[in-house]
Symmetry: C2
Subunit: 260 residues, 2 copies
């Protein structure tokens, strides 16, 4: 956080909201979505969650065309997922929520019952730990030779629970070598692609293997954009990085694929 936003005496709700508001005001015309990460609000307790609520409301009121994804990685037995769905789609009114698939269909279905809202299901994530279980079942340990890895099973099963109009998948930008194969089973679904920027993924690679005839990609860059500057002009620094690292390369890729 820039020092001037966390002066002694400033409450944490204001610090976070002022930070978010500045970044949003500086980037709304070059962003299609914002993806607030709940952990970074919950760690501050009520004051943090208040900043989350204010941020969502601010985007809704001022930039109603922007898609809001609650990055929350929720998922529990049916009667509990129903309450999480209520929290994110009703109470907080985000457009989408990231959901973890481990508990299966009844942990995902309640999120699918809200018209116009989206589940973003974890498939192949961008972190190191993705190799611990998401590749389970592929006995050669990643080469996909004999049997399918778990994440493939997650996609195969879950795509029957929903449509491409209310489900998308997380596929990490650090795993582009598998995007091409993933596109053979879900050619039309949108993919939420984290891992560009701080995690080292390449936008060109993601587009090469993951872009479809309606783009089909929501490419996320969090830390590299958010923490681009530390001074009074931090939001303009964020805008600069967002343009250089995301908007311009994406525009070029969309043009190259004749999508704009």
């Amino acid at each position: 956080m820039p020092a001037h936003l966390v002066q002694p005496g400033t409450n944490i709700t204001d610090s976070i909201f002022d930070f978010n508001k500045a970044i949003i005001d500086a980037t709304h015309d070059i962003a299609v979505a914002y993806k607030p990460n709940l952990a970074f609000y919950e760690c501050h307790g009520l004051e943090g969650i208040k900043a989350f609520e204010m941020t969502v409301r601010y985007i809704r009121s001022n930039y109603p065309e922007i898609f809001i994804i609650a990055d929350a990685k929720r998922g529990d037995i049916g009667n509990t997922s129903k309450m999480y769905a209520k929290a994110f789609f009703d109470t907080w009114n985000t457009d989408a929520v990231t959901v973890a698939p481990y508990m299966g269909k009844d942990s995902v279905s309640p999120f699918l019952e809200y018209p116009g809202k989206w589940v973003v299901l974890l498939a192949l994530t961008s972190n190191d730990g993705a190799s611990d279980f998401q590749w389970y079942g592929a006995h050669d340990g990643g080469g996909w030779k004999n049997t399918d890895p778990l994440f493939w099973q997650v996609i195969q099963k879950s795509k029957t629970w929903a449509t491409q109009d209310n489900m998308m998948y997380v596929v990490g930008a650090t795993k582009t070598e598998y995007l091409e194969k993933i596109r053979t089973t879900i050619p039309d679904h949108f993919l939420l692609v984290p891992g560009i920027g701080a995690q080292g993924g390449s936008l060109e690679e993601v587009a090469k293997y993951g872009m479809n005839s309606s783009c089909g990609l929501l490419v996320n860059n969090s830390r590299e954009v958010l923490y681009a500057g530390k001074g009074e002009d931090f939001a303009q620094e964020s805008r600069k990085i967002a343009i250089i690292k995301c908007q311009q390369p994406m525009e070029a890729l969309l043009r190259a694929n004749q999508l704009i």
Copy 2:
């Protein structure tokens, strides 16, 4: 909720907290742990989460011997799980949090860095959807003949990340046929066992296959106890059900196994 707690004009924070307080006051001497489920607070937004905070604080202040498990099913990339760990162990000061394993080691490890705090990792859950992915890898579809199911892999890998003093596992009471086998690989870990009561699991079966030399079981009963009564005396009704369905049978089982 009993009608007298949700009179028009009562705010939701007070309704939830008054309900929880009454149940806690009526059951603290026959409970070893409480397991608030975050979804049921989050669905009410800030007011709900305020009730969660007040509830945890109330237990801590009045019944410091009680173990508090935040049932939150969190888990994300390392830098994010670190913030969830801060939320639950630092800000909200619960003793344990339920964690989903899908994203692997770096999504679990940050929770293990708090001395005296516990991860309760999902292994084999009690819901129908457990069969969708938790059995993946066992190609005969549940019989465990040729290869190990995913949940077994989750236990095998994750038990090397932690010790029996900071990790326990969720194993549903509706899956007791597998408890015996699970005890062959984690004989000493505590298991959190949901699914008794509303979900149909049997405490006797759970104890038969899952109890170890220090008990090793935290058996949870949520809905059957919480919603035992709807009148002014709801908390006493909850106490009665908790005694009949949980405390007395558990005491008998502990005696039968010479643990008390």
